[in-house]
């Protein structure tokens, strides 16, 4: 998730994961809709503010960001050079801002005109990409993967069995990994060298781990099913989750704020074209 989850006690970390999910969703939707750079800058600032609240380690995305800035610069120029959007705010979207190959270069220049409309559109695009990147990074930084699995597990109207499979499988991954490691060690102890050989041989050697892994998982599943039966799994339509998330006032503020902003921006865009280039 670009930036790994860190267990902290910031206000954002303590938010209900569903609220964080709603926040992420709203931010992505808004960023997707708006095309005007000024609006997108406002959105980016709001996201950065949220990140500051979470104690987000900005330095960790420096690498990704600088790469993104290069990519977005290219996007901006390419858009400016190739595209003239339909626009509601610009009078002359096709006006040439500058030439990529300036006029003082003899013979070729001036060439490759960068036009206002495309250029601004490109900047907007760049902002969108960076914003979504940061939004997803903040979500990942403040929400543990197990919480994410839990959110998915508790989607309303979904049978709880799906949630059970997800969270239990998640819990089982380390168990399977241990088994995989042992299987590989056991192969090595019987003279199998995973590093050597042609690609096809490597696949064959790896299948050697996969076959017993699958075979074992069959018997494991049977024992597990027996244990589940013995704990009344599936006996009632209702399953009570014991970690009911408690919505604190701040949760409500963020939830209503995010969803409200999303709805408002959709309406404003639809009715007054606010946010559109």
């Amino acid at each position: 998730m670009i930036v790994e989850y860190e267990s902290k006690s910031s206000a954002v970390h303590r938010l209900d994961p569903r609220v964080k999910f709603a926040w992420m969703f709203a931010a992505i939707v808004i960023s997707v809709m708006w095309t005007h750079p000024v609006y997108l800058i406002l959105l980016a600032l709001a996201v950065v503010g949220f990140g500051l609240l979470a104690g987000f380690p900005w330095s960790k995305i420096r690498g990704v960001l600088s790469f993104m800035i290069i990519v977005t610069a290219i996007i901006t120029l390419v858009q400016g050079a190739t595209y003239v959007p339909k626009t509601v705010t610009l009078d002359e979207p096709a006006r040439v801002l500058f030439h990529l190959i300036p006029s003082w270069i003899p013979r070729v220049g001036p060439a490759c005109p960068i036009r206002v409309g495309g250029f601004l559109y490109g900047i907007g695009m760049a902002l969108k990409v960076v914003t979504v990147l940061v939004v997803v990074a903040i979500f990942g930084f403040t929400t543990s993967p197990s919480e994410i699995v839990q959110i998915i597990a508790r989607v309303p109207f979904m049978p709880y069995q799906v949630g059970f499979v997800m969270s239990t499988a998640w819990k089982f991954v380390p168990v399977v990994q241990m088994q995989m490691r042992t299987l590989m060690d056991a192969h090595r102890s019987k003279g199998v060298d995973f590093e050597q050989g042609a690609f096809s041989e490597k696949i064959k050697k790896t299948s050697g781990i996969v076959l017993p892994l699958f075979a074992n998982s069959l018997s494991m599943a049977d024992t597990m099913a027996l244990a589940m039966e013995s704990r009344a799994f599936g006996s009632s339509r209702k399953f009570t989750f014991i970690r009911p998330y408690r919505m604190e006032p701040f949760d409500w503020v963020v939830l209503i704020g995010s969803l409200g902003a999303m709805v408002a921006s959709i309406l404003l865009l639809a009715v007054f074209k606010l946010g559109a280039l």
């Binding site: 969270s167 024992t223 027996l226 244990a227 013995s230 006996s235």
Partner: protein
Amino acid sequence: MASDIISLKDVTFSYKGSKRCALDGITLNVKQGECVAILGPTGAGKSTLACVMNGTAPRFMDGSLAGDVTVDGMVPAKVGTAQMASRVGLVFGDPDTQLFGMTVEEDVAFGPSNLGLGYESIMERVGKSMKDMRLSGLERRAPHRLSGGQKQATAIAGVYAMLPKIMVLDEPTSMLDPEGKARVFGIVRMLKEQLGVTVVLIEQEVDDILNLADRVFVMRRGKFVLSGAPREVFGRVEELRQAGVRVPQIVEFGTLIGAAETPFSIDEAVSAVGLPCSSTNEVESRAPSAHDGHDVHDEQDDVVVEAVDVEFTYPGGARALDGVDLAINRGDFVAIVGQNGAGKTTLTRHFNGLLRPSSGDIRVLGRSAQGVPTIELCRHVGYVFQNPDEQLFCTSVQEELKFGPTNIGADPAVTSQRVEEILSDIGLAKYREVWPKYLTKGERQRLALASVVAMDPDVLIVDEPTTGLDWVESLQILDYLEQLRDKHGKTIIIITHDMNIVSLYARRVVVMARGRVVGDGAPREIFSQPDLMELACLRRPPIADLSQALWGEVLLTPAEAAARLLAAKSQAAGVCSE
């Protein structure tokens, strides 16, 4: 009887597609609050019996059930899962496959959650169950980060949170180390004595059952062959042996000396020794002094594997080995013992290069193993892992045995011959075409061992070879190892928690604690150092305690102790008659 909470009458069960009856005319009545132990070898039908009691057989396991089963006034096969699950709790041996929550708390709540109870009442049950099972404080821990004993305690707490009147525990300690075993037996005692739960305990640990169960049943091939109070059942030494159940050492000793009343505890044995013997049994002793000649010193120059000041730190930062010096001589039979986490497995994995020392050196056959890959070292040092299912890769027994030799480029003709020999040695010749998964656990363990033997290494390292096996299967494995040593001159290193095995087979015991070797010597020497045993959390076999109490010296087997006693007696008689 009105107070019978479990009543089975002439119950028969056979699995779909199998001709043999897994249960063959079982009749069993258990009173409320009783603790009943069921013993017997693997495949005797013990687990099937457990499943019949809560209705998972035949509801979940296909098969046909005949006879009358009544549990807590219900017919398990006829009522729903939920109803049965909150009456009869079933706990299994492998803790990993019966833990479902992301946290301990969630796991304990899993059963009540399935019943769809309200949040408050679930949390109340969870709180009580966790407190009763001494798990308080672990609520938010991830189950896979717990120790084996804690995991099993969590599994029991989860079942107990369903508030069952009956708990059926199917070999709950088979995968645990001594500490975990003690924890689980403590829980069983509490269930029975303080919580008033009716307990059906399926077990292999005879020494623990002796003082825990109200009644004991011994199963063999789907039938009860012995039943009664522990003292009655364990007194029938010959029948126990025939059924494949280990005879408690003190009892065996009592029989050997022909005590009038079978002793069950050390105190009783001491007083039995004081009484005049009712008969003069000829004692056939199992070469009592066979393991005295701890002949390390004669062979010191022929070291096969050696650790020189080895330190090892796992990538996570946990220091597992803290300066280990250990040399193993050719032809020795070494047992490495110690608590889980003491560094036993970490150390032995260095000998075939699966792990590399952070500092220090490993020497194999006199040469440094540094830079030599595992695929090279495995020609000299064979490593057998604890779980056979994690080292059997092929789809037939025969292929499995050829796998290793083929990889190291052994001569096919030689390999074929060796495989034939091994197949007959381990008694699997007739199963050569069978998928190893279809074999019993004991057979799989033997096959796993044999698949390494097939590569003809000088040294065999065997990690906990008897975990989850019954006594007869355990002896088969160890006898095979002994045969490999005696006939083929292999050096055997086993890691084990079973002190009975140590006293019967090991010539040298290496005790590890906190990443260091803290004791090294013949079993007798090690068992004579109570401080050392305590440091490594080891419990020596009862016969060692008894002989210590009687003569102030440690003896290893009941036979040895009996011989010692008879010798002392005849000497005393000789003195008297003079």
